[in-house]
Symmetry: C2
Subunit: 117 residues, 2 copies
DNA sequence: TTCTTGACCTGGAGTAACTCCAAGCCGGTA
DNA sequence: TACCGGCTTGGAGTTACTCCAGGTCAAGAA
């Protein structure tokens, strides 16, 4: 799979994928005889995971640690598990931020409604 | 109220407040005889709203439009309402992103668990 | 009164995480 | 042979802060 396909499959832009690879976030990307990147099924799954971690606010540094562990093989699974559990807590905090903001919006909109009468 | 108090009351950092003011996001900030900023109750409420909008992903450009409308007075309330309704939809999208990511994490963690046995 | 301290000021440099662009290569079609 | 689309790299630009240097000001201590 070439970069544009990997991009539309994962959700990341081609530029972002190249950038992530340069930053060590995407291990084991092969090259074809033409010198261009070829992404395996596993590569694309990894990119998709990165996409969702980024979308939900995981910082690059954490992704870097996570990718380094991933590259080292199965004995790092406990450490990776810890990172994902940590991120899961972040998701919970984000959800309560959304709820808090929604509340504020609703109150604000009510005030607007009153003005409009 | 001085900037440091406004900061801890709103959630924004003092640096960010100064930056926002420079970018036109905070109308009507007064100065004391010492040349320092004095934030009214209304200022602080506005900053708090900006804090939550930022936390939940409203882009600066939108905040800028929103602030410009706010500065123009009550006749812009319909336009401001539209912006907040729009943002409310963004919140809904974010919430479903969080759900989607949580799902992925759960699956991933299950796979890890299997490995650990 | 002079000194120090702490909070604030401005302008500008630095940072994170992309994002875009120029210039060039490669394989395939007309 | 000429062109085209998709890929390459290196580097510049962007967004939204974030930090810092150097300076002002008011208040309390010596």
């Amino acid at each position: 799979m070439r970069i544009s396909e990997a991009a539309s499959a994962s959700g990341l832009k081609a530029d972002t994928i190249r950038y992530y690879e340069a930053e060590g976030l995407v291990p084991n990307v092969m090259r074809g005889s033409d010198g261009q990147r070829r992404f395996s099924r596993e590569n694309v799954e990894w990119l998709t995971l990165l996409y969702w971690l980024r979308e939900t606010g995981m910082p690059m540094k954490v992704m870097q640690r996570f990718a380094a562990l991933y590259a080292q093989g199965d004995e790092t699974i406990p450490a990776r598990k810890a990172i994902l559990l940590d991120h899961s807590e972040r998701l919970a905090r984000r959800r309560s931020d959304l709820d808090r903001c929604e509340e504020i919006l609703v109150r604000k909109l009510e005030i607007y409604e009153e003005y409009l009468r």
